[in-house]
Symmetry: C2
Subunit: 309 residues, 2 copies
């Protein structure tokens, strides 16, 4: 993976059919649309409803993507599960197909676990996968996982697995924490990604790598555009424009809202579907969101059109 | 399953080998020891480190138990996983081998989910299993899962699946909540279990079914004894004796402490092992716990001896 500053990844939303099975054709098309806008594919993230899918479903989707022509060097699947055996199985598959790296949640059932326990978990997975090509990006998302990753733990993991522990996604929503990560660890050998494009410019200016952000599913071109030109004069204005879109989506439950927007702009109402325990956006709220998006001139250009052949 | 008041279940601790694989022989032996003390086997619960195991590992253990002669009518495996597909697979297996019921966690990755989303999750699992023999015991454990089950949700599930929604385990640690569950739902068709034997007598007196409690792994005979004679005069004293043992274990991380005690009384040091992210009790603390237990005359009679053949 490039450690060049200006790296944007989308935690790809997952399309489901009427039977709730992943729609592989729509998934490949959406990934190709995202890639065509210059964002990498952090499939199987929180926004992908990845923990609502079985390991087998994810392995199948990953294989389909690579067979479908998606460049594995632009793939960073989420592979952290509560059970070490599951994490190992999915991580092995990611390494085997040549993914750039994996984004790894801590085990998230038990709360208030020790750094020692989390260190053992990550060590066990890395050692069992046992492949020098493995690049692990740690996934710090205390608001959802409720299991934070401390700076001391990150340092210990980097020391134990240099070259393998390659970065972190900080979805804590607290800029001072992202800044602390960049100050302490950021550099060519450790990529710090903000968990929202709201912090994209701050992250790049501070020396971080970029962002892995939910709304890169719906606004990929503009986010990747700022990341590519963050040193240009208009950067602050572009950041404000990104924030305006983000603000709008954040008025709604984020995953259902992104799916509602994708359904509208692709002309495929099936996109609205989510897996329980999530619930799709109500019709009226979806209409309200779409109106507000159109009012601000927001588009998802080329969505719903095949980007290959 | 008997809805007789005075029902005690142990969320069975899981023995792991040096490679962290479940030790099936030790597992069967421990289950038989527990059953011989009159407690049911709520395998694959929080205290079983069940979410640190793959579905395949749990299916294999369940099959081994039944083949090993454990009565499936005394089995209530935990089968609630984050992914519907995983919950369905494990629940189907439990029904197929004749388990009394299953204890079902809500999906626990996403937080602040709606009752509607949780209703859809449970409905989807129940409908996909599609077996009239299925008995679902809901698992309310907000301190760990961070996803509570509201009274309104329980009512809606009971209405939608009468006969299938058969009870609840309340591990919230708040007696007034357990009492509210009993007052509203408790009866022959809905078993309310306290999540700790600390509330056993209160639960039985209020009309609840009994308890499903961690420390029934180490103190099964005394807990089952009180449950069987809760109307006797000495009940309050017996409750106090149970509490004294519980108090001692609660001074330590509970799962590692129960495993340390089991290791000591069975003479099998391998019992101390836990899976990451948990960490076993330090040697010095284990020694301290065991000394305190011996001082109070605590024993795990017959542990480590084969109970069959």
């Amino acid at each position: 993976m490039s450690q060049t500053r200006g790296d944007v990844w989308s935690p790809v939303i997952t399309p489901f059919g009427a039977d709730l099975a992943p729609d592989t054709r729509r998934f490949v098309t959406h990934c190709q649309w995202l890639a065509s806008h210059g964002v990498g594919l952090a499939v199987f993230g929180t926004n992908s409803e990845a923990n609502s899918m079985t390991v087998e479903e994810k392995q199948h989707l990953l294989g389909t993507l690579v067979k479908g022509g998606v460049d594995p060097a632009r793939l960073m699947p989420g592979t952290g599960q509560c059970a070490i055996g599951d994490s190992v199985a999915l991580t092995r598959e990611a390494v085997a197909v040549g993914c750039a790296g994996v984004l790894m949640l801590p085990p998230f059932y038990y709360k208030s676990v020790s750094d020692e326990g989390l260190f053992r978990y990550y060590s066990e997975v890395i050692e069992r996968v046992g492949d020098s090509r493995l690049r692990v990006y740690l996934y710090h998302i205390p608001p959802v996982a409720q299991v934070p990753l401390s700076l001391a733990l990150i340092e210990r993991l980097r020391d134990a697995f240099p070259g393998t522990i390659a970065g972190i996604k900080d979805s804590g929503g607290d800029w001072s924490h992202t800044q602390a990560l960049i100050d302490r660890f950021g550099g060519d050998d450790f990529a710090v990604y903000a968990g929202s494009e709201r912090f994209l410019l701050d992250t790049l200016r501070a020396g971080g790598a970029g962002c892995i952000s939910a709304t890169a599913n719906v606004n990929p071109g503009a986010i990747a555009g700022l990341a590519a030109s963050w040193q240009a004069e208009a950067a602050d204005e572009r950041q404000q424009a990104l924030n305006a879109v983000r603000d709008l989506f954040e008025r709604y439950p984020l995953i259902p809202a992104m799916k509602a927007a994708t359904a509208h702009f692709s002309g495929t109402s099936d996109w609205r579907r989510v897996r329980p325990p999530l619930v799709e956006l109500e019709e009226a709220r979806a209409t309200e969101l779409v109106s507000a998006l159109e009012e601000m001139g927001f588009r998802m250009e080329g969505l719903g059109e095949s980007t290959h052949g």
